[in-house]
Symmetry: C2
Subunit: 342 residues, 2 copies
């Protein structure tokens, strides 16, 4: 049995979407137990609409809800909120393996750092989405928003975290790691990139393939792309914007004439396959890496399917032994060469 | 008559593609004169394959060619190269309006700064592609790679340059300007973004709408997105990668079964419309802004159509009076508040 926490109140359409996602995940994995934190009455009203194995679902009543625009540092003090109560349980209860939330990103990061805590040696947690790529697999982009300002040692640790995720989550033994830069040549970029390049080349446990460009996130050869949280965020959201535009244009064009509509009917399966291959929600969200247990942060606008995917992904990552993989990789590295002043 | 220079030797498939593009541009615009720089014999051999008005095409023989991996600072000294010879003519000859090249980006930037020169008051030139957006128009992303490291005053000037391009190239009277950031709230980002936000808000001639995210480049409301060259480059290439992936997946899916192939036949026009709406080459490349005359930098892998579009775009920008628009906008601003130490 794997026991996973779900913040039932996080996200734009909570708790209805969260509860529907929880039920879907429970029905798909008989080895799964879920603990939902949030307003019990609201959760029960939603649960009444579904069929599921009641013995594998537990509710912890939390009267308080953190909103998207609450200050994260204030939010972390609200122990009776669905998110922070979940973090306290995740910290204290050994049999709980992971947390899934679609709530505020800032509060999720701060709560993770201050309540759950980081893996020994890790300076900062990092957000890491799995982005579909042209090889039919995924590229892990780390960091994509937790740390706007970075030092070389942090980027080196992101390489460790991303490599561990590639192993634990996707069974890639020697994940290829690239450094996101404005060109592929060794000397490219600002001093942060130039220094990090040097350090990454020296790391024993990291399969560093050099600088990569924005296009390589979806088209390239590497499994892990290391970035500061600022440019990683720009990359991720630029890709999301492009994907959304394409789907919008496609919809418009395929309803633009009778002939196009007929074409759509014949090609429906192909178009569905296309959408599936470009599906950003396959893994339910970004993994918050570097904490003592896996935390999956889903999009605020998640659908039931997204939440279910996030729960399944959290379970898979725990089964793949993410945290031990991070510790093992970190143990083998001498990051003193990249030590900074904080 | 508008007289434009084309570096006939720049790019992966020069001079054949460049010459084909030049002929296409000449045939489309009877008000156009072209001067091609490069190896005369090779250019003539290519020209022999085409029909065009010989009275409107001139060749300047340049024996030397700058390659993609030549050092830009060395390249700028090679006055007999097709690119630098073009820059010298652009500087000296009043009747030549603009330059188009598909050659090395680095050499194009350095040549522009050192030979042609910047508009008075402009600290650095910036690369600015026009990216298709969901409103059916374009978003101008400035800078996308000329300046990896930026200061607030540079970003403020990019806002001026982008606004002038939106006016001169696309007839947008009061272009909306956004600052590329990792969130839309005012306090978001690193100190560079926070300071720039403050300064942009104070600029009289800039219609600043606040922070925008990567997704807003294609989905948002603004006409100009201001970025440092590092994150702008990441954004542009991430979008390019996503676009390429989508086209690849589409091709694969529409040939995956007989039914899909039939669907393709019926929806062919819709798919063509989709491609056209997502066409990155509509304007032939990125504009190098901030120089005394317009310079269009096309992709190294340009097709004849791309080169022709670049020439047409250069002509349109000259007709739209880009450089006077920059000077006028700059004159109205007191950028002393953003003065830095260089």
């Amino acid at each position: 049995m794997i026991k996973i926490l779900l913040d039932a109140m996080g996200g734009d359409n909570a708790p209805s979407v969260n509860v529907a996602g929880a039920v879907r995940a429970l029905n798909a994995d008989k080895q799964l137990k879920l603990v939902l934190t949030g307003r019990e009455a609201e959760i029960c009203a939603e649960l009444a609409k579904h069929k599921y194995d009641k013995s594998r679902l537990e509710i912890v009543d939390c009267p308080d809800v953190i909103e998207m625009n609450d200050s994260p540092t204030e939010a972390v003090k609200r122990k009776q909120s669905s998110l922070m109560a979940a973090y306290w349980m995740l910290k204290k209860e050994d049999d709980i393996c992971a947390l899934v939330t679609a709530g505020s990103t800032g509060a999720t990061i701060v709560g993770g750092q201050l309540i759950l805590g980081r893996i020994r040696g890790i300076k900062r947690p990092a957000l890491c989405p799995a982005i579909p790529n042209s090889r039919g697999g995924v590229t892990l982009l780390v960091d994509c928003g937790a740390n706007a300002e970075c030092k070389p040692v942090m980027l080196c640790q992101f390489a460790v975290l991303g490599s561990a995720y590639a192993r634990a989550g996707f069974g890639i033994k020697e994940p290829k790691v690239g450094l996101l830069n404005n060109g592929t040549e060794e000397h490219k970029g600002d001093p942060l990139r130039q220094e990090t390049y040097k350090y990454l080349s020296q790391m024993k446990g990291i399969n560093f393939i050099g600088n990569v460009e924005g296009r390589d996130i979806m088209l390239g050869e590497c499994d892990v792309v290391v970035a500061d949280g600022f440019s990683g965020n720009i990359a991720l959201k630029s890709i999301e914007g492009c994907g959304k535009l394409v789907l919008g244009v496609m919809k418009k064009q395929f309803t633009s004439s009778l002939s196009a509509k007929i074409g759509y009917l014949f090609a429906r399966k192909a178009i569905k396959g296309m959408r599936a291959q470009l599906d950003f929600n396959k893994f339910g969200g970004a993994l918050l890496l570097g904490l003592k247990k896996p935390v999956v942060k889903s999009h605020g606008s998640s659908k039931p399917e997204t939440i279910a995917n996030a729960i399944a992904n959290a379970a898979a990552i725990h089964r793949g032994r993410l945290v031990p993989a991070v510790e093992e990789l970190l143990d083998g590295e001498d990051l003193n060469f990249a030590v900074d002043d904080d």
